[in-house]
C-alpha cells in the first residue's frame, strides 16, 4: 500500500517570493529598532547628565562602528515605518491584490533605502556639526 503523503506546515512547501523577505525584514528591523531605542535612551541620558557626558557620548557616536549602527537604525526606522503603514492598510483590508501588494512592497524597499540614507545623513550632520 502506497504511503499517503502527510500534510506539511505551510513554511515547508511555500515557494519563496520576495514578499516573504519583506515580511521577515519587518521583524528583523523591529528587533534592530529595539536596540536603536537603547541608543536613543543613551543619548538622552548623556544630554541630561551634562555637557561633559554629552561630549563623551557624541565622540562615541562618531566612531565608524557607531556610524554603521546608526545607519542600520536609520534604515530600520524608515523600513519599519513604511512597511508598518503598509501593514496597517492590510489590517483595514486594503492592498491585498497581488499587483498592489507587490508594488507597495517595492515602494517600501526603495523608499526605506533612500529615506534611510537621508535620515542617517541628518543624524550624522547633527551629531558632527555645530558647537
Amino acid at each position: 500500500m502506497a504511503q499517503r503523503a502527510r500534510p506539511l506546515s505551510p513554511f515547508l512547501h511555500y515557494r519563496w517570493q520576495y514578499t516573504n523577505t519583506l515580511s521577515i525584514l519587518h521583524r528583523v528591523t523591529g528587533v534592530l529598532l529595539s536596540l536603536g531605542f537603547a541608543l536613543l535612551v543613551y543619548w538622552l541620558a548623556a544630554a541630561a547628565a551634562g555637557a561633559d557626558s554629552y561630549a563623551t557620548a557624541r565622540d562615541a557616536l562618531a566612531s565608524p562602528l557607531a556610524q554603521l549602527v546608526l545607519f542600520g537604525t536609520a534604515f530600520s526606522f524608515c523600513y519599519h515605518l513604511l512597511n508598518g503603514v503598509r501593514h496597517l492598510f492590510f489590517d483595514l483590508g486594503h492592498g491585498f491584490e497581488l499587483q498592489t501588494a507587490r508594488k507597495s512592497g517595492w515602494a517600501v524597499a526603495i523608499g526605506a533605502v533612500v529615506l534611510g540614507l537621508i535620515v542617517w545623513l541628518v543624524v550624522r550632520a547633527g551629531l558632527g556639526g555645530g558647537a
Binding site: R27, G30, S34, F37, L44, A48, Y54, F77, V85, G126
Partner: protein, 128 residues
C-alpha cells in the same frame, strides 16, 4: 451575556488568552509612533547641529519634552509587544521563553524610565 468567545476561558489551548488586546495595542502604538517618529526626525533636522546647548534648549520646551516622553514610552511599549511575539514564535522551550521574556521586559522598563527621567531632567532645567 458576554460577547467574548468561550474559547477565551480555555487555558493553554490556542488563542484562549488576551490576543486581541495585544494585537490592538500593537496597532495603536504603531500609529502613534508614525507621528512621534516623524516628529523626532524633523526635530533633529531642525536642531541645526545636535550640540548640548541645542538639545537642552529644544527639550526645555514643554511641548517638545512631552512628545519626547511620549516617544520613549510608546516606543518601549511597542517594542515590548513586538519582541514578545518574536520570542514566543522562536523560543520553543517554555522555561527559556519565560526567562527571555522577563529579561526583555525588565530591560525595556529600565530603559524607558531612564529615558523619561532624562527628558524631565532637561525639561526642568536640572541638566547642567
Amino acid at each position: 451575556m458576554s460577547l467574548k468567545s468561550p474559547l477565551r476561558s480555555v487555558t493553554y489551548l490556542g488563542s484562549a488568552k488576551g490576543g486581541s488586546g495585544h494585537w490592538y495595542a500593537q496597532r495603536v502604538t504603531a500609529v502613534a509612533l508614525v507621528l512621534l517618529g516623524l516628529w523626532f526626525v524633523v526635530s533633529l533636522a531642525a536642531l541645526g547641529g545636535a550640540s548640548h546647548e541645542n538639545v537642552v534648549a529644544w527639550l526645555s520646551s514643554p511641548v517638545a519634552a512631552a512628545f519626547a516622553v511620549l516617544l520613549v514610552l510608546t516606543a518601549a511599549w511597542h517594542a515590548l509587544l513586538g519582541l514578545q511575539v518574536v520570542i514566543e514564535d522562536y523560543v520553543g522551550d517554555k522555561g527559556t521563553r519565560m526567562a527571555v521574556l522577563l529579561v526583555v521586559k525588565f530591560a525595556l522598563a529600565v530603559a524607558a524610565v531612564i529615558g523619561v527621567i532624562a527628558v524631565l531632567r532637561i525639561a526642568f532645567g536640572v541638566a547642567a
